[in-house]
Every structure is written in C-alpha cells, then in structure tokens.
C-alpha cells in the first residue's frame, strides 16, 4: 500500500481518535463510578476491583509480602511514619518534601458528563506508541468504555504503517497480566511512592555532595526526547553520574561496523522498495528489529509476480522468517559469514568494482560454501548496481557490518536502498561493552545508587558478569520493572512500572519521527511511570508524567497555539516534522577498512559452533509471562511453550540425537540441559539456542515459570551471539514438545495438496501457457454438481477473502491479532500437546527440498467459509448455518458440542473448547475482552467468523449514513495486522473490489478444490524468482511440490 492510502486512512481515522481527558486538578474519583475507570484514587497501590471474592482471586503479593492480605498494606503507617521522620531530618529538602507529601495531583477520571464522541457500546481509538529497543511503533488502541481491548497499527506512523507485530498485538494481555508487580516495596516492606520520593530526595542530597559520583542509571536504549531531556537535567545536577544503556539484543554490530567503514557511529536505514536484489547476511529483517513492519511491507510490495519482482538471497545458520522467503538460501555457520562476505568482496572486486579493490585481498579462510552460489550472487548484485542491497544481521560482528556497508557503498546503493544516519540516542552502544564498564564500577565499589530501568538485566546480562552477585554490592539499588522478576529480587527497592498502555511519554521511530505515548487507562496497580522516576532525581518526582511531558513539548514548540497542536499530535499519533534526515556523502576508506577488518576475520577457534538467537515470541524473555505469545507457534518450528536446542539432521545423527532428547550443552565450563530439536535447513555443526526462556526466579509469573531452558546462562560478554567450542552430549532423558505441526512435507504419502509454490524464472511463470497455468487451472473454477449452487449475486455483499502466499512471511502477527480480537482462549502446554490449541488461524508451513536447497512455504489457514460447507449439514441441532452473504456462522448458544462439524471439516479449522478455559480468567483479565465477541464456555465449537462483529459494526454505521460498505473500509483483525498486506477481505459482488481482483488473479487457487466445498477464501500461489544461473528446473519442477523433507 502506498503512502497515499495511509493518508486516506489517517483522514478517515481522524475523527475516531481522541486524546484522553486529563484533569489537572486533584479530583477524587466519583463514588460509584463505573469500574472501568481504574478506580485509582489516593493510593497508588490500591487495586481497581474491590469486591471480596475478587480480591481473594487476585492472588497474593509476591515474595515475603504474601503474609499480608492484599489491601491491608495500602497505607502502611510504619513506613509512612518512618518516611515522614526522614523527611523531617532533611532540613534542606523540606520545600520539596512538602510537595511530595501531597496527594498526587494528576489522574485519569471517568467522565462525569459524557463527552460528545463517547457512546457507550461504541469503541474509540486512541493513537499511542510502544517503544522497543528505544524505537517506537505507532499504534491505534481500541478502547471500550475506557478499557483498551485491541491493538492495531497506526497507518500514519512511518514504522508501523498500519500493521503490527505479534508482540505488539500481545501487549493487551501484558497490560491485564495479573502477575505484574503491584506493590512498591523496599526489601519485603511495602512503602508508598511518596515515602520513596522522600528517601530519594534525602539520598539526592547525599549524592550531590560528590556531584553524583556514585549515581548510575542502567536504562533500556531510548530515543525519548523527554527522557533524554530529563537525563540532561539529572546530569546537570549530578555531573559525575552516568547513564548506561543496555539491551541483551542490541544491534551494536551495525553501529560499530559503520564506525569502521565511515569513521563515525551510524545506523543503517533500509529501503526495500527500490531494491531489486537483496542479500541478507544472517539478517532476519522481516521479523526482527524496529523496522520489521515497514520492511516487510516494502519487501512484499516488490514480490508481485512481474518482471520487477525482487530477488532475495539469504545466508544464515538456522531458518528464519526471512530465510523462508528467500529465492536462494545458503545455510552457513554464523562465524563463517565474515569470510563469506570477504569472499564476495573479492569476487565483486574482480568484476570491476574498483572501490572494493582494497578489500579484494582479504583472506576469506577455508572456503566452506558453494562457490557457484557466490559467483551467481555477485553477478546479480553487480548487474543491479544502485538497486541492490546488502543487509547484515544484528547478530553479526562489526566487521561483517563494515563490509556490508562497504559493499553497499561500492554498489552505489547508499542513498537509494540504504541510508546511514547518526544514531538517535546519545548512547549508540547498548550491548555488553557499556555494561562491562558499569560492572567494573560496581565491583570497584564506586556505585552507591543504581537505578535500573532496563528490562531485567539480572536475567539477560551475560553470564560472566554475575550481575545478581554484583548488585549485592550496591547500597541503594532501585529496580523499575513490570514484573517481580530476577532483577527485582536482587534489588533493594522495587518500583512497579506502569505498562506502556498506562504511560505518558514519547518515542522516536527509526527515522526520528516522534510519537506521543498516551495512556489508555489509569495504572491498574498503581504503576509508576519512567519519567516520574527520572524526575525524582531532580526533585520533580511528584509533578506527574503528563505535566513533565507537556512542559517539555511546550518548551520545544514554537509558534502557534500549543494546546491545539498537542491535541492534534495525540490524535494523529505522530508529531509532524520531527524526522531526522539521513546523512549524505558517506565515504569508505577501503584500505583502512581492510586493515581494520583483516584481523577480525581470521578464525582462531575450532569446535562446534554455539549460536544464540532472539526468540521471535518472547524476545529476550520480557514477554515470557504473556500466554498469547507462549502459545503462539514458532514461525518455523511450530513449537509452543518451550525453546529447543536446534540442530541439523546431519549433526544430530552424528551425535546420536533425536528430536526430544535432552542434551547437555556445555560452553566454557557452563552448561545447560536443553531438549534438542532437529530443524530442517539448519547448518551443520552448530547448535542454536533461543533466549528468553527458563525463568526460575522467585517472583516470576506463573506463565513464564519453568518454561524452556535458559540459554542466557551460557552467554558471555565477548561473544554474545556466536562462538565455537561448544559441546552437545546426550543425557538419556527425553522431553515432550508441544508442537502444533509435526508434519513437514506438503504431500506426505502421496496426498496431493494444491501447489502453494511455483519455482521458475519469473518470465516463464507469467506465460499464459506455462505448466504452472495447467497445474493451477484444475484447482479453481466450477466443478460438476447435481445441485444448483446458491446464487449470492443478489445479496448486498458476498464476503470473501484472499491470501497472497507470495506475501505471507509467516510472521504470525495475524494469529495474535485474531486471538485478541476474538477472545480466544489459551489452553496451555498439555493441551497443545494433545492437539487442542484454539487459535483460529493456523499458519501452516511446509518444507521442501533438502537441507541445502530448503524452501519453506507458509499458508495461513482459517475457516474458508465454504459455500457448500461440509460442517453444516452434519450438525444435529443447526448450530452452524450459512448466512445470506455467504458466511459460515457458528451459533454458540445452540451448540451441544458433538464435534461432528470439526470431523467433517476437510481443512480442520474448527476449534473446540475441550475444557472450561475461561474459568482461569481473573477479573482484571476480563477487562481486556472484546465485548463485541461472545466468550465461549466449555463444550462449544468455534472458528473464524470473518470477524463478523466488524462487519456488523460497519453495516450499522454505513446504514446510518444511508450507503453500503465501501471496499477497503472494512478490515478483519488478521488483515489489519498483516505487515505485508497478504490478506484481503471484501465483497465479491463488487467487481472492482480488491478481493474480486485477487479472486481473478492467474495465481488464484482453492485449497482442496476437488472436494467441491467452494471455499470463499482463495489463495494466490507463491512464485519464486530464482536466479537462472542457479535454478535447476527439474529439482522442484514447476507447479506441484514433491516434499522430500523429513516426515515424522
């Protein structure tokens, strides 16, 4: 979709979006107000739901605080008194303290008089943003009577452009997570925020004596103008204080690599829209990093089968989402990529790229890859000078990033497909290096007060820092976090953080555009906001985040009426004209680079390679307590509720390991026991360990606890991603994985599934009389039948969907979006193992080829709404029926649960509530349910409804306006979240609708067409665009795929 579409969407959405009313005066919440207000009055630790049985259900507080029933410690006299005594003792701070003793004077209250735009029952959408790794994703959050229920992408935002990732979709569940930290505490003693402010003030006075020499902040990487401004002011007051930025998944290699290539730290920004040939060096750019949504969109836009179709080469150790989309994929150990790219430099230099001449002589060591592949790739890159792109992954060392930058510069791609810009944060590095400096300071006893706002560093920090032990040496440690996690247990003070949806703040996108983060709900458990904690160090801890933010932006704003602009920024989700232009004229000194890089490329170590990888679901572990993500099948392995030590089949055979064996992985005298899994397309002699699992801490929530193994326990600061010298040994024990798809091949046992993929040069595929057309023609169109098909053409709408498999990357954002929209239950590991997962969308993936020429195809499959649906006639009680517009509808309250409909569904897309899953819901969790969708109890069948609640909402609103629903104004939840726009929904009775066009596409086919079900969801076959030099037509054959992958 182009920018113009975005603009339209923005205009359309404009009147729907409002900022929340902010009341500056101290107003107590109205008595008997609707519970949705968060009810958060005087005491921040007060819980929003106060009925007795509900309080009991909400569970005890973490740690030793358990002995006090919830609610009794809201006002702790002892602590307040002690705090008060401390306040008195600090005479210099009396004035400030006075303020801190007052009630917080800012809160979000329910409407006393209903504002014009609020209609009970009709949701509102608010624009906000979510910051991950310091960069913001613009979101639109649906709010029902003050309760956020669903996340969507903000079309106006340059990074998300209307779509989201699975992790962003799951934020809703994280907000209502009952395991979140709820109590501000000092050790095991609950204290009030104002008491803590008093202590901080007292401490500030002490710190000020030596200019803050003992003060350290360990923060997550941030681009927030407000936080950076507060940081500046803190440093003004405490010049000796230091801010350290840390993330266990930082992209430091890119910054350092740019430093090597261009002489200064820079961050690459990619533009796939103009890239004809893309080489990914171990970069999962379609599913990783802050730009993934936009990059996926741009990539997919160039995958339309036409002569302009782009070509993707991927070099990587284990299959990723990006690797699965590749036209050519080369499996390669992570530590080999450096010499591969050096080899590429020398081949390109020999093909006349003078700029690469100094790099031609770089030793690329023992060649372990297919030279033909490299030469073909080099030829392709060279032919597409100025429209090619080399992307290096965040796991690769700076040398690889430097060579990628040199390649891009030499190929003339800089400014076209890639731009380099200055980092948007004052601390460009946030990996192990800055943390090491902090660790040294702590070890030397130089740190008196440590404020940690980074995500759980005790768990994520490299094992060699022994960070938990180090923290014992810090006299005053304050942890600001969402959960009572490992770091909270190791710190003296635990400050419960407000969730991203409860926060005021701001954040920049990768291009610099600022979004204002506005809260959707008052902090459910009285969480503190990051800006407030910062402000406490400049004596403004009681000002409130909203005021801090407004004050900052008012200061920045020049010209005009601020309030009106502020409202506009909040409504739009972006602050206009805040983007930062890329720097032009970067130059690479080839000779100097060669000198720097050469020693880095020599391989000194041997042995098996150990590779760590960011988990696509739990990230670095911070989403481990999110059951939606835990239960989301991994895009490649389809594993839920666990991580696995991934191995190639060859390696596993050599070690005598089978999938499900528990192995001991040893690396530098540390070891973990991990269940092994054989993964197709994995490189030999490497073991890949996903991070983020194996949480065992005291306060770790019930969802995250004891799921998987902690790969981070092996991770060291010098080689955070790849190293050699690991050993993997069988322990003899076995493990049961909960995998949603055991079968790898597409047509096991000769069953013929229509071909989702077509291989062959693009020109060949596009020909009308090609084999592809013969193959696909039999998989669509009318079949002979004795029944007169129902005529839907007289209806106002004929709902249908199309899914373009050429665009689907398998990222699974749609799955979580659907879960969120449709109140789908989580079933837990045991039930997934039994085959009872409830997600309405199943992203099927099929491998074909062998490990060296692996292709993977993903196919999202939800109810296809057959016109002649096999499920309908078998139901004895009429609980599943057909609508006039062609929807296959479930009547939940009529269903008696015979499961006959599911048995007779050839697509197996129906889901059954085998147990009473909703029994586990807490009262707070229920706030996040979509009120438009019935919650299903035990014993009931359910399935995709084509988001019928959205259809009906739109029908109502358009009927009021006296018109019909226009194409494109109605989006299903999966369609809305899809970063690549692979899913299209609309009416087939409108010949000009997008879905009608897609249904007429030459690539269109119907899944299981031969059964005669007449599905309303059509698929567009995937077309690959292989390099003719590398393409072996007979290896796969056009059309039908014959899977040769393993079949379990």
């Amino acid at each position: 979709m182009s920018c113009d579409d975005n603009k339209d969407a923005r205009t359309k959405d404009r009147d729907r979006r409002r900022s929340l009313p902010v009341v500056d005066k101290s107003v107590a919440p109205a008595k008997g107000a609707a519970p949705a207000d968060g009810g958060n009055g005087l005491w921040r630790s007060q819980r929003p739901w106060r009925s007795i049985d509900e309080r009991d259900r909400q569970g005890a507080m973490p740690g030793a605080a358990n002995e006090f029933p919830a609610g009794t410690m809201d006002v702790d006299d002892n602590v307040s008194r002690r705090g008060f005594m401390q306040l008195l003792s600090v005479s210099t701070a009396v004035a400030t303290v006075g303020a801190a003793c007052q009630k917080p004077n800012e809160k979000i209250v329910p409407f006393v008089r209903r504002p014009e735009e609020v209609t009970p029952g009709n949701p509102l959408h608010f624009a906000t943003a979510y910051a991950l790794e310091g960069y913001g994703s613009g979101l639109l959050v649906e709010s029902h009577e003050g309760r956020p229920t669903k996340i969507e992408g903000n079309p106006a935002h340059p990074q998300t452009i209307g779509a989201t990732t699975a992790i962003e979709q799951a934020l809703i569940l994280g907000l209502y997570d009952d395991d979140r930290a709820k109590q501000l505490r000092q050790g095991v003693t609950p204290i009030a925020w104002r008491s803590l402010l008093g202590q901080i003030n007292a401490n500030n006075a002490k710190l000020a004596e030596n200019r803050g020499a003992g003060l350290r902040f360990l923060t997550a990487p941030t681009t927030s103008p407000l936080l950076l401004d507060l940081r500046r002011r803190i440093l003004e007051r405490f010049p000796q204080a230091k801010f350290v930025s840390y993330s266990s998944v930082a992209d430091d290699g890119a910054v350092d690599g740019a430093r090597m290539a261009f002489g200064k730290p820079m961050v690459p920004r990619h533009r796939l829209g103009s890239a004809d040939v893309i080489l990914s060096l171990d970069s999962d750019f379609l599913a990783e990093g802050p730009e993934q949504t936009r990059l996926s969109r741009e990539f997919a836009a160039r995958r339309e089968p036409s002569p302009r179709m782009s070509r993707l080469y991927v070099v990587e150790p284990a299959v990723t989402v990006t690797g699965a989309m590749a036209d050519h994929r080369l499996r390669m150990q992570g530590t080999e990529v450096g010499s591969f790219v050096a080899g590429l430099c020398s081949v390109l230099a020999s093909r006349g790229l003078e700029k690469l001449a100094p790099l031609a002589s770089l030793s690329h060591g023992e060649r372990k890859w297919d030279m033909k592949w490299l030469v073909a790739l080099a030829g392709d890159l060279e032919r597409h000078r100025g429209s090619s792109l080399v992307i290096a992954g965040c796991r690769q060392p700076p040398a690889v990033h430097a060579l990628a930058a040199a390649l891009n510069a030499a190929l003339g791609n800089v400014g076209v497909t890639v731009e380099y810009g200055a980092p948007l944060t004052p601390d460009p590095l946030s990996g192990p290096a800055p943390l090491a400096a902090l660790a040294q300071d702590i070890a030397a006893g130089a740190v008196d007060t440590l404020v940690i706002t980074a995500a759980n560093p005790v768990y994520t920090a490299p094992a060699d820092f022994k960070f938990a032990k180090l923290l014992e040496r810090v006299p005053n440690s304050i942890y600001f976090g969402l959960n009572e996690d490992e770091t909270a247990a190791a710190c003296k003070v635990m400050v419960p953080a407000a969730h991203a949806l409860e926060t005021w703040g701001d954040v920049r996108a990768t291009d610099g555009t600022v979004s204002i983060i506005q809260p959707l709900i008052a902090p459910l458990w009285g969480g503190i906001q990051e800006a407030e904690l910062y402000a406490a160090f400049i004596g403004e801890g009681d000002v409130g985040a909203n005021k801090l933010l407004r004050r900052y932006w008012q200061g920045q704003f020049k010209g005009g009426e601020f309030d009106a602009h502020w409202e506009r920024w909040l409504a739009d989700g972006i602050v206009p004209d805040t983007g930062v232009a890329a720097e032009g004229g970067v130059a690479v000194d080839g000779a100097a680079l060669a000198q720097t890089v050469a020693p880095l490329l020599t391989r000194t170590k041997s042995g098996m390679e150990i590779a760590f990888v960011v988990d696509p679901k739990l990230y670095d572990g911070r989403f481990a307590n999110n059951a939606w993500l835990q239960e989301l099948p991994h895009p490649i392995t389809k594993l839920t509720w666990d991580n696995a030590a991934m191995l190639s089949e060859t390696t596993a055979k050599a070690l005598g390991i089978e999938t499900g064996d528990i192995v001991e992985v040893t690396y530098r005298d540390r070891h973990v026991d991990a269940p092994a899994m054989i993964v197709p397309g994995h490189v030999d002699d490497t073991v890949t360990l996903p991070l983020g699992y194996g949480r065992t801490g005291v306060g770790v929530g019930g969802v995250a606890k004891d799921v998987g193994f902690n790969a981070g326990a092996l991770r060291t600061s010098d080689n955070p991603w790849y190293d050699r010298g690991a050993t993997v040994a069988k322990t003899g024990r076995r493990f049961k994985f909960a995998i949603t798809q055991d079968h790898w091949t597409m047509s096991p046992d000769g069953r013929v599934i229509p071909p989702p993929a077509v291989e062959g040069p693009i020109e060949e595929v596009l020909k009308r009389d090609s084999k592809f057309h013969e193959e696909i023609e039999v998989r669509r169109g009318p079949l002979p039948t004795i029944h007169e098909p129902v005529d839907y053409s007289k209806q106002a709408y004929k709902w249908a969907m199309s899914i373009d498999l050429n665009k689907c990357t398998g990222c699974s954002a749609c799955v979580v979006a659907c879960v969120s929209e449709n109140n789908i239950n989580v079933v837990g590991k045991e039930n997934v193992w039994r085959g009872r997962e409830m997600q309405w969308i199943r992203v099927d993936r099929y491998f074909s080829g062998n490990d060296d020429s692996l292709s993977m195809i993903t196919q999202p499959l939800m109810c296809v709404h057959c016109e002649t649906a096999p499920c309908e006639y078998v139901c004895p009680v009429n609980a599943t029926v057909h609508s006039d517009e062609g929807l296959n509808e479930m009547v939940y309250n009529r269903c008696i649960g015979t499961r006959y409909c599911s048995n007779n569904c050839p697509y197996k897309v129906r889901r059954f509530n085998y147990l009473n899953y909703i029994a586990d819901y807490t009262a707070v969790r229920e706030l996040g349910m979509n009120p438009d969708v019935t919650v299903r109890t035990r014993g009931i069948m359910e399935k995709c409804t084509y988001c019928v609640q959205r259809i009906e909402r739109k029908r109502i609103s358009t009927r009021i306006e006296g018109r019909t629903i226009a194409d494109g104004e109605l989006e299903t939840a999966c369609q809305q979240s899809c970063p690549t726009r692979a899913i299209v929904f609309g009416s087939l009775n409108d010949a000009s609708s997008k879905v009608s066009q897609q249904h007429a596409d030459p690539r269109r086919y119907d899944l299981l067409h031969e059964i005669g079900t007449r599905p309303r969801t059509a698929y567009l076959a995937r077309v690959r665009n292989p390099n003719p030099e590398l393409h072996v037509p007979d290896a796969h054959g056009a059309g039908q795929e014959h899977g040769k992958g393993e079949h379990e």
Partner: protein, 469 residues
C-alpha cells in the same frame, strides 16, 4: 442342576439334536427355572462384586467427564471422536445378535433359536444401554443435547437438523431400544407367569405376578401373544438392518477419506452381527456350563453360531478388501493414502493389523468342524472377534480422522485414564445387568423350549434337527 444325561442311543449319522435327553414339561421347567430359585452361589457373588466394582469405575469416569468436560478424554482436533464413538458403535453392534436371533430367525422358523434367544435379547438390551451412554456423554454440553436432539414443538421454533445423520441416529437407536425392550419383555411374560406360579415366597409371587401382567395361559392369551410376538418380530426385522445402517451413515455421509464410502451400510450390519454373535458366544459358553443349560443349548447351537460368525466374518473381510480396492480404483489420492499409507504404515497401523488378525484370520478356523465344536477354541475365537471388532471401529473412527486432508493438522491420539475407565466401566455395567438377569429371570425361554419339545415330540414329520426345509 445337571442336565439329564442323553441316554438314547443315536444314529451316528443323525445330526445333533436341539434338546438333549428325554424331557417332560416339568423337567424342562424345573431345569430351566432352577437357576432362578437356587440361592446365589459364591461364584455369582464373586463375579457380581467384580462387575459392581467396574460399574463403580463407570460412575467415577462419568462424574469426572461431566465435571471437567470432554477435555478429560483424549480427543483433540482433528480426532474429534474417539473412544466414545468407538464404544458406541461397538456396543450397538453387539446388540445386533439379539434382534437377529429373535426376529429374523423366528420369521424363518429356525427352531434352534429358541434356546438362545432370551439370552441374546437380554444382551441386546444391555448392550444398547451401554451404547446409549456414549452419544450423550460425548457431547460438549449433554444437558442440552438430551432434549435439543428431540423433535418436540418448542416455543423457540427450532427443530433438530434433519439432514444430520446424528439426528437419524437418535431415532434409529431409540426405536431399536424400545422395540427390543418390548420384544424381550413380551417373550418373558409366560415365563414370568411360570416363575410366579412356582414362587415359594409371597414377595416373589407379588413381584413376578406384577411382571407377568395377569398371564393365565388361556387359549386367548396364547393366541394374542403369538400374534403380538410375530408382529414385533416383523417390526424388529428391518431394525436389524436399519440401526447399523444409520450408524454407518454417521461416517458414510461425511467427506473424510476412510468414512466417505458406500459400502458402509452392509459392511456395518455384517460386522454388527459378527460381533453380536461373538459376544453371545463369549457369555453363552460359561453360562450354559454354570447354569446347567447344556441340554437345551447344545453343541448344535454353538456350531450354528460359529457358522454365522464364519459367514459374517467373511462379509466383513470382503468389506475390508473392497475399501482398499475402491481406494485404489477411484484414484482419489487422499483415500489411497488413508488406506495404503496411514492404515498400513501410520502411527496406528498396529491396530489395523490386530484387526485383520482377529476379524479376518480368526474366523477362518471355523471352516473346520473340529474347531466349530471345540468349546475352548470357539470361546477364545469369540473373544478375539470382540477385540477385532473394537479395533475395526478404532480404525474407522480414529485412524481416519487423525490423518485426513491437510498434513499440517495431522495429530496423534492417545486416550486418557478416563477413556479407558469409561470403556471398562461399560463392560461393568453390561456385566452387572447380565448377572442380575441371570439371577432373576430365566436365561432360556422356557415356554418356547417346551413348545419346541412338543413340536419335536408330537409331530413325527417334524425334523428333529429343527431345520426347516
């Protein structure tokens, strides 16, 4: 009481008789009612306590299922039906022998049926009771299923879906149960009167008297009784074919490879008769021994049943062969894969081979007279056939479902303790009812045996073997 020893010397070429020894009405009466009047022995109590314990398991399993939901079972998606439906079909099948023996053999005037029909009819009833548990229990919300499946004019105006084979099932099985119950009870009336007349205590006289419904044995009674009996037999006859035909429609009308086949109705009926006779055999062999019925349930009866098992076993085998032939001949890749890959080599192929052994190989032994007339051989074979027929339903229900069309949703299935306990529990229910039946009701239709004796004794032209030409 031991049967009178056959004292009359027989021509060795003469076929075996249907009643062994020389009897009067009184000796028949005494010998066949004896087991009712005899106090319950230790053996009966031992068996009954085992059966009751198993019945207790059934109560536990049902309670747990209702409390937890169907998730207490091992079912999943794609295997939406599993043990519940297997057990349903298996029990319904077992019930078929009773109707076949009572109705069809009566209409064909096969005299040998009289000694075993009471026994088989009781089995039908109890098997259908066991079977009926499952369609209800296996639904997600049985409290609604129990009446939403009934076509009654409700205020909301919603009727059952008459296109659904499950709705047909409700009619078929409930009709079958009703007719079977009536038929069985009607046959019992003269015997209950006999029990009443020979009762030694007042209570027993009252109870049996009530049940006998005023039967006095007048000529008019006999005339009406005979008519009613034949009429009910006529009604039951189509049911033998229709019940399992309709049960087979549950599968045959679907689109699932392995279910979607036209051979199912006859193949199911043959399988039902096959398994029904096997079950009758399994119980009859010990019962005739312990209840002293050897003189009326003679080797002739057992051999005839073995012959029927051989015939129906061959029909079932033909069904297996035709399923495979059609899977190949039709050229449908899914069906081909279901039969030649999934059943032969899939994760559940062991059950398939066990089925072939039990249902195809085992009955072949009955080609040999020696085996047909050997008590241990026929008893073990009958158990094999019972196991085999359960495996057949496993193959149809679970193996077909677990790998159907889209390979990404192939799942394995494993039962939970509840599944297994439920199955054992229904065997307990069946056994409990059966042991009670043996204790309180004559296991052989006394009246009919007397009648048969008269026919054989008074009609010199009558074929002593009881086979009508």
């Amino acid at each position: 009481m031991a049967a009178p020893h056959p004292s009359v010397s027989r021509d060795p070429l003469e076929p075996q008789p249907l009643i062994e020894g020389v009897h009067t009405d009184k000796t028949i009466n005494d010998s066949l009612l004896a087991h009712v009047w005899r106090g319950a022995g230790k053996g009966w109590f031992a068996l009954f306590s085992v059966a009751l314990a198993m019945l207790g398991l059934l109560v536990i399993a049902i309670s747990w299922t209702l409390y937890k939901g169907i998730g207490a079972w091992g079912n999943n998606i794609p295997v939406g039906w599993a043990f519940g439906i297997i057990n349903f079909v298996w029990w319904i099948g077992i019930g078929h022998a009773g109707t076949l023996i009572s109705a069809i053999l009566l209409l064909f005037q096969q005299k040998w049926r009289t000694s075993i029909n009471r026994f088989a009819e009781a089995m039908t009833l109890f098997a259908v009771i066991c079977a009926l548990l499952f369609p209800l229990l296996h639904t997600g919300r049985p409290w609604f299923a129990i009446y939403w499946l009934m076509p009654y004019p409700s205020t909301n105006g919603i009727w059952p879906q008459f296109k659904s084979p499950l709705t047909w099932d409700v009619f078929a099985v409930s009709t079958y149960f009703t007719i079977s119950l009536l038929f069985w009870f009607l046959g019992l009336v003269p015997d209950l009167a006999a029990l009443r007349d020979s009762s030694k205590s007042k209570t027993k006289r009252m109870v049996y008297g009530l049940l006998a419904m005023g039967w006095r044995g007048s000529g008019r009674h006999w005339a009406e009784y005979k008519w009613a009996y034949v009429l009910l037999a006529g009604l039951s006859t189509p049911l033998v074919l229709s019940v399992h035909t309709i049960v087979s429609f549950d599968f045959a009308t679907s689109v699932i490879p392995g279910w979607h086949t036209t051979i199912f109705p006859p193949y199911f009926v043959a399988g039902a008769v096959f398994s029904g006779f096997a079950m009758v055999m399994t119980w009859m062999v010990p019962a005739r021994h312990f209840l002293g019925l050897k003189h009326v349930v003679t080797m002739k009866h057992l051999e005839n049943m073995n012959k029927i098992m051989l015939v129906t076993g061959m029909m079932v085998s033909y069904g297996y062969i035709m399923e495979h032939f059609i899977a190949w001949y039709s050229g449908d890749p899914y069906e081909y894969a279901q039969f030649f890959k999934t059943r032969w080599g899939g994760p559940m192929s062991g059950i398939f081979y066990l089925m072939v052994f039990c249902n195809v190989v085992t009955p072949q032994i009955f080609w040999f007279k020696k085996a047909r007339t050997s008590i241990p051989v026929m008893w073990i074979a009958s158990i094999f056939i019972n196991v085999g027929m359960w495996c057949e339903r496993f193959n149809i229900v679970i193996t077909s479902l677990h790998q159907d069309f889209i390979p990404s949703k192939f799942e394995n299935y494993s039962p939970t303790w509840v599944d297994i306990t439920l199955f054992i529990g229904t065997i307990g229910l069946f056994s409990t009812l059966f042991l009670l039946f043996l204790k309180f009701i004559p296991a052989v239709a006394v009246t009919e045996v007397k009648e048969l004796r008269h026919e054989l004794a008074h009609d010199p032209t009558a074929d002593p073997v009881g086979e009508t030409h």
